[in-house]
């Protein structure tokens, strides 16, 4: 357990040693380590196998751009595949497993794929797996599926909880390196509300990886001191471990904050929080990511980014190698040699592609200017480098620097295109930035320290001023600009062996040549044909070198070639974080009716109707099948009395001098002359003449109506009416408010409904047939003065009422109704019995109002009044909707009474073939009618009104049954309506 590669220094806490496990082997590290730095400390060179060829992979970088060191972190249900070891904070007991190998990491059986490399190159799957055809489903696809992907999921539900949240600020500062810190100090000192976020757990960005000085202090020290000052400001909110993953409209950003990933467990708290951040201004200080140079076998473990090598040495106190070589096309790569030499690490060579004077004087170190590496060798990790001039260099680690790419992604999420700068050989943000955003520092192409600090400082001040604050007057933090010359150099053309561009998806320069030779030149095609940039690292290291090489191959310039489109998220975000609390029962709110508790006590079976839970039927002991319950509820209601909770139907309160005029325009039938104290059935059409919704509207006074809608259309009808009120007819005095929640409402139906209600309603109110006839309505009191409303309307076809009471009394009222009705053997009935009874009565409901049917189809053509204008009236007269052979709603019974009708069956004349051309209509609703003892149905059929008594075939190809059915009246009970008016 000795950390052989530990060296002195670093920003880790050696007083807090930690134990962790990699592939079952126990190793040790310190607090402040990442999994990657701890693995390097323990000399673990091999960490994974590549995607296609299963070649050995080592740690390549020190940040979120890591393409290779992906592990399955944690065991059991919390196991997370494709976790980058370079950003995973080490904690005590951490368990990690390497990915993408059959057999052990050291002896991967799938490594044989590398021998097939010539036929596994770019686009191979467009040219293979085609013959024999039969092999695709049973042989090729299973093999491909088994090889696809890198890490594995546990297969269990994610056991952790996630949360979401909303934050508001004046200035959002993205990235807490030197630029971000300067910006945050400027804006924070000016008094602006600042949110300051960084993906790392230690504020400071590259200051923690380098040996720079700021304000005369070591970089990390200045960072820590700045953090202390920022924490002391109540207007600044620091958010480390927070990745701002996307830039959205109007200054809104998405961010994910890791709350417990650095701990052994979540302790029941949300693992991560997905924040929506609303900013007035944003400063993008996302820094830059280094890129490599492609050469033969440049994917060998031990080849790493130069800046990352220094990060491991300076920040984490580990040496990635004992004999380190440097390969660079710019001045910055030389810093690795300087820093390692000062730590006593041997530099075997510095190879610079530029033919010029060495950037630094390094006595005793082999310097090769104008040099190029053409190959590497070493069994599982690097031992030797071969140069183009034939020299052989011994090295167990190669630090490569191909230059730095500004992290422009967030500035391009809204389709802004970055622009090329030759002087730094990199893309920088273009002019089309998201509203309110400024870019500063390395992300803006200011790749040196003093320049970055200056830009951050100025951007922070500018943002504060733009919002109306006064800058504090402090100057920008002082530092020096390091050497940063570069000459673009992307790949060593002399290399014979494959040269890697996308390490994760195994895409090489050779693959680019294949794509180019097959005519796939555009970057978007290049990406998809070769899969370069499509792995979990989203091409952070591969994109720019690849398009530079493509530019070379096609003879275009780099700006002409351009970049692919950057889309959120910047780094991977767990699906659980996007889901937040919306899982399982909490996926949607649940709406409960006022009688819910009472219904539960009765053992009701519930059904989901949108967000509502409604009682579907109320089984009695001894009943084993739902039909027994439902038939009983129907028969008992029709023979005596039943009670049903109808609170869920939309209730809209309509008031105003012009309320009647308004309703007259909304409804197809007339409402202007509805007397006070009366209710009327209303049909609403869409503007195109199609039936939209129906209900009843009661006039409580000259200027007050209460409208009911169907349960499912409550919201859409209210929205429609508000639109009409506010936008179409703002000159009408009419006001709407929902009353659905305000009133608990119960249907009381059956021959004994009146005597039952007489026991509940206060005696001052005469509800005799004469005083309160069919379709009457009024305000009443009940049970000694409790205010309520009574409506004499019937959905069942029986003598029936609906009684409403303020919802606080809803539970009490249903119990009182049951108590009052016990002498009549009152039965509670649910939505199933409700549905059976309305089908027996022949009432249209949602199944008939499909959004394709008209008033005429429903048999209500004459209800569309021509004496006034209403929505849909004109277009309902279109010829196509008024054909002679148009549909009509009729009833159906099976010729063989023992057969069950099926909703959805289509009608064909008896002597015609069951093909589409002969389709005459369809069955909309069916039920077993206990009143008749057989199945009944409602449906639309052409010329239906003229065909009573005719037998047709109900064809059901889906369920494979054809039934002979007879056309009858849709009113199966009490067609004269005598019960209603009793």
């Amino acid at each position: 357990m000795i950390q052989v590669n530990r060296i002195a220094g670093g920003l880790i806490d050696r007083s807090q040693p930690l134990d962790f496990f990699f592939n079952g082997q126990q190793l040790s590290g310190f607090s402040g380590d990442t999994l990657a730095s701890a693995l390097i400390a323990n000399d673990q060179k091999l960490v994974a196998r590549s995607f296609k060829y299963h070649r050995p992979r080592g740690i390549f970088s020190a940040g979120s751009e890591e393409p290779n060191a992906l592990v399955e972190l944690r065991n059991g249900p919390s196991q997370e595949p494709n976790t980058r070891a370079t950003v995973a904070e080490l904690f005590d007991g951490l368990e990690a497993t390497s990915q993408n190998h059959r057999g052990s990491l050291a002896f991967d059986l799938m490594a044989i794929n590398d021998l097939f490399a010539p036929i596994l190159s770019a686009g191979f799957y467009y040219k293979t797996f085609m013959w024999p055809k039969a092999f695709w489903e049973k042989v090729y696809e299973p093999i491909i599926r088994a090889s696809a992907g890198l890490g594995r999921l546990s297969g269990d539900d994610d056991p952790d909880s996630y949360d979401k949240g909303f934050l508001h600020c004046d200035v959002l500062i993205i990235g807490a390196g030197p630029t971000g810190i300067a910006a945050a100090l400027a804006a924070g000192r000016a008094g602006a509300r600042v949110i300051f976020a960084d993906e790392d757990f230690l504020i400071g960005g590259r200051l923690n990886a380098e040996t720079f000085e700021v304000e005369g202090q070591a970089g990390p020290q200045w960072a820590t001191q700045s953090v202390t000052e920022l924490n002391s400001l109540s207007n600044v909110r620091l958010m480390p471990r927070t990745s701002v993953y996307g830039s959205f409209d109007h200054g809104i950003f998405g961010a994910v904050e890791r709350m417990t990933d650095q701990l052994p467990g979540t302790r029941g708290k949300p693992r991560q929080v997905l924040w929506r951040i609303y900013s007035k201004r944003a400063v993008l200080c996302a820094g830059a990511t280094e890129r490599s140079i492609a050469f033969g076998n440049n994917d060998r473990p031990g080849v790493m980014l130069a800046g990352s090598v220094r990060a491991y040495v300076n920040r984490w106190g580990v040496a990635p190698g004992k004999r380190v070589a440097v390969f660079t096309n710019n001045d910055d790569g030389w810093r690795t040699a300087l820093d390692l030499i000062s730590k006593g690490i041997n530099i075997s060579a510095v190879i610079d592609t530029r033919s010029q004077r060495p950037t630094f004087d390094l006595p005793g170190v082999k310097i090769v200017m104008g040099g190029r590496i053409i190959n590497s060798s070493g069994r599982k990790c690097l031992t030797t480098l071969l140069l183009a001039d034939g020299q052989s260099i011994k090295a167990d680690c190669l630090a490569v620097s191909g230059g730095w790419n500004p992290n422009v992604q967030l500035s391009c999420h809204q389709r802004g295109k970055p622009v090329w700068r030759d002087d730094i050989a990199a893309f920088v943000p273009g002019r089309d930035l998201p509203v309110g955003m400024e870019v500063a520092g390395a992300a803006n192409g200011a790749l040196t320290l003093a320049a970055a600090l200056g830009q951050g400082h100025n951007a922070g001040n500018a943002a504060a001023i733009a919002i109306g604050y006064n800058p504090s007057g402090n100057p920008a933090p002082k530092a020096e600009d390091e050497a940063s010359g570069i000459i673009g150099f992307w790949h060593v053309a002399e290399s014979k062996a494959r040269a890697w561009l996308d390490l994760q998806n195994d895409v090489t320069v050779k693959d680019l040549r294949i794509a180019q030779s097959e005519g796939l030149h555009s970057v978007e095609h290049l990406k998809r044909y070769t899969t370069l940039g499509m792995a979990t690292d989203q091409g952070k290291l591969a994109n720019v070198p690849a398009l530079a090489i493509m530019a070379e191959l096609t003879g275009k310039s780099i700006p002409e070639t351009g970049t692919t489109i950057f889309r959120p998220p910047y780094t991977p975000v767990p699906i659980g974080a996007f889901g937040g609390r919306s899982r399982g029962k909490a996926f949607r709110p649940t709406r409960l009716t006022p009688s819910h508790k009472w219904a539960e006590e009765q053992g009701a079976v519930f059904v989901e109707t949108g967000m509502w839970l409604r009682a579907q039927w109320f089984p009695r002991s001894g009943e084993t099948h739902w039909r027994q319950s439902v038939d009983r509820e129907v028969m008992q209601t029709r023979s005596s009395v039943g009670v049903c909770d109808v609170t869920t139907l939309g209730k809209i309160d309509v008031q105003g001098r012009d309320a009647a005029v308004f309703l007259n325009r909304i409804y197809a039938n007339g409402f202007a002359k509805l007397p006070v104290g009366k209710t009327r059935y209303g049909l609403m059409l869409r503007e195109d003449g199609i039936a939209m919704d129906d209900g009843t509207t009661a006039r409580l006074s000259e200027h007050q109506f209460v409208m009911t809608t169907t349960t499912s259309n409550a919201v859409s009808v209210f929205r429609h009416m508000e639109f009409c009120r506010q936008c179409l007819w703002p000159g009408l005095d009419v006001h709407l408010i929902s009353a659905t929640e305000q009133w608990a409402q119960y249907a009381v139906a059956g021959p004994n409904s009146r005597p039952l209600l007489r026991k509940v309603i206060d005696p001052d109110f005469d509800i005799s047939n004469e005083a309160f006839p069919f379709m009457a309505c009024g305000e009443i009191t009940m049970c000694g003065g409790i205010p309520g409303r009574l409506f004499r309307i019937s959905f069942s076809g029986e003598l029936a009422y609906e009684i409403a009471v303020p919802a606080r009394y809803g539970d009490a009222l249903v119990r009182a109704l049951m108590a009052a009705g016990s002498e009549y053997h009152v039965v509670p009935y649910g939505t199933e019995a409700l549905g059976v009874m309305r089908v027996e009565k022949g009432h249209a409901a949602g199944n008939e109002l499909t959004g394709q049917t008209t008033a005429r189809d429903l048999g209500m053509g004459r209800m569309v009044s021509k004496k006034k204008d209403s929505i849909g009236s004109v277009l309902s007269e279109r010829i196509a909707l008024n054909r002679e052979d148009g549909l009509a709603l009729v009833g159906f019974i099976p010729v063989n009474r023992a057969e069950a009708l099926r909703a959805g069956a289509h009608f064909v004349s008896q002597n015609k073939a069951a093909i589409i051309e002969n389709d005459e209509g369809w069955m909309t609703s069916v039920a077993f009618s206990p009143s008749h003892g057989h199945s009944i149905g409602l449906g639309f059929i052409k010329r239906g009104a003229e065909r009573t008594g005719e037998t047709v075939t109900a064809v059901d190809p889906l369920r494979g049954t054809n039934i002979s059915v007879k056309i009858v009246s849709p009113h199966f009970i009490d067609p004269e309506g005598e019960r209603l008016r009793a």
């Binding site: 709110p589 649940t590 967000m611 006001h735 009133w743 009940m782 000694g784 205010p787």
Partner: protein, 189 residues
Amino acid sequence: MPELNLTASSPLGGLEMQYAGVLLSEITDLALVSIAIPLGGRSALEREMAVRFNVGLPACGQSTVTTDGMYQFLGMQIDQLFALFEYSCNDAVSIISNELGKTAYYTDQTDSWAMLRIAGPMTRMALERICPLDLHPDRFSQGSVARTTMEHLAVIILRTDQDSFTLMSPRSSASSFLHAVETSIENVL
């Protein structure tokens, strides 16, 4: 025939929960009446409110309170305010209509909303998890009111004190609403 009595029940059973830094309790003694301003009737209503309640018409998003603190009027829409006042009987509308008469249209909303009071120094931290609005004390002043959504539920939020708010959400989804608020509190503690 036995006397049939109807007893009232509140949406959340009168709960009261104390957490470290947050007190959550159901409000059960306030009535809520919607007051719709007739087209062209703004000044008439304004006058009547001044005469009867000695209070001004609130702007949208703000509220006005009578000097005795008994009635608070919430500016909900251009042509709609809510009256919020202590009252537990059955005729809240008449309390308002007896004063303002024909200058407005009234609808009882008392039973439509489950009402929670959330108070304490951790309140805003908890509400950050579900409330999309900016509740910073300088942005959402005392007496401010707004309609918003929290965890897919319609919510009216009213700031009542330094660190306290009234939250109202439709009665039928009261359990889901309580769960959302409780979870927010538990998640930040």
